[in-house]
């Protein structure tokens, strides 16, 4: 494991879910992504013995029209991310507030939309 990864994990382990108004923090969103999303949405080819499920499904869905790895997307909208995280989609289950708090979700959205060419409201 790299030192960077170890640091990210150490930070993740020390963070509980929190609530309350705050400025969205894309760096913390990266940590949230690492804890909750990477397992299914890391880029292909993943390091795992099986393809990461979410990336694999999106690749089949888009056939190259859009990147299959979520971190490479520049078109995801906050509403789209929020709805998918909270409600799930097909095999992807919903995620509860005890798992990803509202403020963590804001940070995750900030992370996944930070390179968007078109900015959307939340």
């Amino acid at each position: 494991m790299t030192n960077t990864k170890a640091l990210v994990i150490a930070v993740a382990m020390s963070l509980g879910v929190v609530s309350g108004a705050h400025a969205a923090d894309a760096a913390h969103g990266h940590v949230v992504f690492g804890v909750w999303c990477t397992g299914c949405h890391e880029p292909l080819p993943g390091a795992s013995y099986a393809p990461p499920a979410g990336t694999y499904v999106l690749e089949q869905h888009y056939h190259g029209r859009l990147p299959s790895a979520l971190e490479q997307r520049t078109d995801l909208t906050p509403a789209q991310i929020r709805t998918t995280v909270r409600n799930g989609r097909n095999m992807m289950p919903q995620t509860r507030k005890t798992e990803i708090s509202d403020s963590d979700l804001d940070d995750l959205i900030a992370y996944l939309t930070q390179h968007n060419t078109i900015k959307h409201d939340k």
């Binding site: 494991m1 170890a6 994990i9 150490a10 993740a12 382990m13 509980g16 879910v17 609530s19 804890v35 397992g39 299914c40 390091a47 795992s48 013995y49 099986a50 393809p51 990461p52 499920a53 979410g54 694999y56 499904v57 089949q60 869905h61 909270r86 409600n87 799930g88 097909n90 095999m91 289950p93 919903q94 995620t95 509860r96 507030k97 005890t98 798992e99």
Partner: protein, 527 residues
């Protein structure tokens, strides 16, 4: 808001207010949107809300004392509770309660690692901690210990162990066998520690699970007798290398010969895991998303009245160059020991027909740890998940063929050839149980309500027929608990009646997880 049967709306709301006083209003969930997050993500009742088990509300404590207070409040107002560790038991009901209107006790925020002991190889943890969290914690410590993790790894060691889940490192894959001492909030709110944990100042809680007197850890697994708030687990040291081998034949009749040779090696501890299958019979299966690699004639034989004779299958295997019987073994540990075990196994299998093939060794450092892999199942992108049919059977060729043929016949009786083609045939493979084996058959959930209902009927028929043949389920979704408990019917359901006697004694108000494992409290029991 769904009010549970047997509880008045006024009492339900009063209880929610008192829960909020305990955990804070942010951690009591009552809105439709928040409560919907506690549904079974993989429910086959999608599109049929009246049939779906749903929560009434949810409360999320962070301490044992809060759990005790919640239980006492629930008793005061007769409000049913359903506790889960991480609620990721997908395919077996997930976070949904067996009794609609129950208040979920979401233990996800109780996620502390209490202790890790590297030399004595144990950990004490809380229920909300996931396999992934724990793996990362061990990694951050530079530990050489390994969890026995299932995939996906977002579940909880406590939740998985208590539900008799399987992992990749425990003996027999049986994770509950790694659970030693438990800390439990009883249905009256009292706190109990099992085994040596009952000795004040005990130093042996995590070492000797029996303590003195009746051994009761099992009463808190797949049950509704308490809420487990801490557990001591034994951990496994990382192994240097994992080595596999196979032996294959073009004759079905060699399968029992392989079993007769491999099982003693397993019993002697030479093999860590073993398996047996018929690759030609499995070759058409695509229920798990695999594209069938077998010949089309697989389906012709499967659909025939007798399911194909041994000679027909052996001929098909030969013409397709796919074995009719395959035995598998694995060993793990220090490289010199594994090398010696492999040589010993090769020698013991010397007289058997077929080719002995040694697999590529996998070194411990290559293990990626628990992940959220769904693997190739993800190909089924139009599905809404799945639920599992999971019967146990004897690891003997006669039983393996008998259960496979029984499943085939029930599917044909239900005119469900799609499901038969998906399933095809199942042996077993890899590390796991020895004297018994498991079929894990996924029933995919679709948008088509009629198809889902048809599959549920098939599921019930399979449970009934397999039960009558002595092949019971080892675990089941929340909505099938009664159906499966009915398999265990010896002496007019003496086991269930015993459970009910215990339930009535320790939970007279019937507030903890009514219906879990088919155990209903007196106030809700159907006569």
């Amino acid at each position: 808001m769904r009010i549970p049967q047997g509880t008045s709306e006024a009492d339900f709301k009063a209880a929610l207010q008192e829960f909020a006083n305990v955990v804070g209003p942010d951690w009591v969930f009552t809105s439709d949107e928040d409560v919907a997050a506690y549904r079974d993500a993989y429910s086959p009742f999608i599109g049929q809300p009246d049939k779906m088990n749903v929560a009434g509300a949810a409360v999320s404590p962070t301490t044992v004392e809060q759990v005790q207070q919640i239980v006492r409040i629930a008793n005061k107002y007769t409000v049913p509770l359903f506790a889960f560790s991480t609620g990721r038991n997908l395919g077996y009901g997930g976070s949904s309660p067996p009794f609609s209107g129950s208040v979920i006790v979401d233990l996800k925020r109780m996620n502390k690692v209490i202790e890790v002991n590297e030399i004595e190889a144990y950990m004490i943890v809380e229920p909300g901690l996931s396999f992934i969290d724990m793996h990362r914690h061990l990694t951050s410590l530079g530990s050489n210990l390994r969890l026995s993790a299932p995939q996906p790894g977002w579940g909880s060691p406590i939740g998985n162990g208590l539900d008799h889940g399987h992992g990749d490192a425990s003996y027999n894959g049986d994770n509950f066998s790694m659970v030693k001492g438990l800390e439990v909030v009883l249905p009256n709110g009292e706190l109990l520690r099992t085994g040596c944990g009952a000795v004040p100042g005990s130093k042996l809680w995590m070492h000797y699970e029996y303590g003195f007197g009746p051994y009761i850890n099992g009463m808190f697994s797949q049950s509704n007798f308490g809420i487990v708030t801490k557990a001591c687990f034994w951990l496994t040291p990382n192994w240097e290398v994992h080595q596999t081998f196979t032996i294959e034949s073009d004759k079905t009749d060699d399968m029992q010969r392989y079993i007769d040779a491999l099982l003693p090696l397993r019993n002697e501890g030479v093999l860590h895991g073993w398996g047996i299958t018929s690759p030609i019979r499995e070759s058409g299966a695509h229920n798990d998303g695999r594209r069938p690699y077998g010949p089309k004639d697989v389906y012709t034989l499967l659909h025939s009245p007798d399911g194909g004779t041994v000679q027909q299958w052996d001929d098909l295997g030969r013409s397709s160059n796919i074995p009719a019987a395959r035995g598998m073994g694995s060993m793990r540990g220090a490289a010199p020991i594994v090398e010696a075990q492999l040589a010993y196994a090769r020698e013991r299998l010397k007289g058997l027909p077929g080719a002995f093939k040694v697999g590529k060794p996998m070194y411990g450092k290559d293990w990626l740890g628990p992940r959220i892999d769904f693997g190739i199942i993800a190909i089924q992108e139009t599905s809404h998940g799945h639920f599992y049919f999971s019967p146990m059977y004897k690891a003997q060729a006669k039983d393996i063929f008998a259960i496979n043929d029984t499943i085939r016949r029930v599917m044909i009786e239900h005119n469900d050839y799609d499901m038969l083609d998906n399933f095809c045939w199942s042996g077993t493979r890899g590390a796991g149980p020895d004297k018994y084996m498991l079929i894990l058959l996924e029933f995919l959930v679709h948008d088509d309500i009629d198809l889902n209902n048809k599959r549920l009927d098939l599921f019930r028929a399979l449970v009934k027929t397999c039960g009558e043949n002595g092949w019971p389920e080892y675990r089941t979704p929340s909505y099938m608990q009664d159906v499966v408990m009915n398999q265990y019917s010896f002496n007019d359901h003496a086991l269930r009646r015993f459970h009910e006697t215990v339930k009535d004694a320790i939970d007279p108000n019937g507030i903890l997880a009514p219906g879990k494992a088919g155990i209903w409290p007196k106030r809700l029991r159907k006569t």
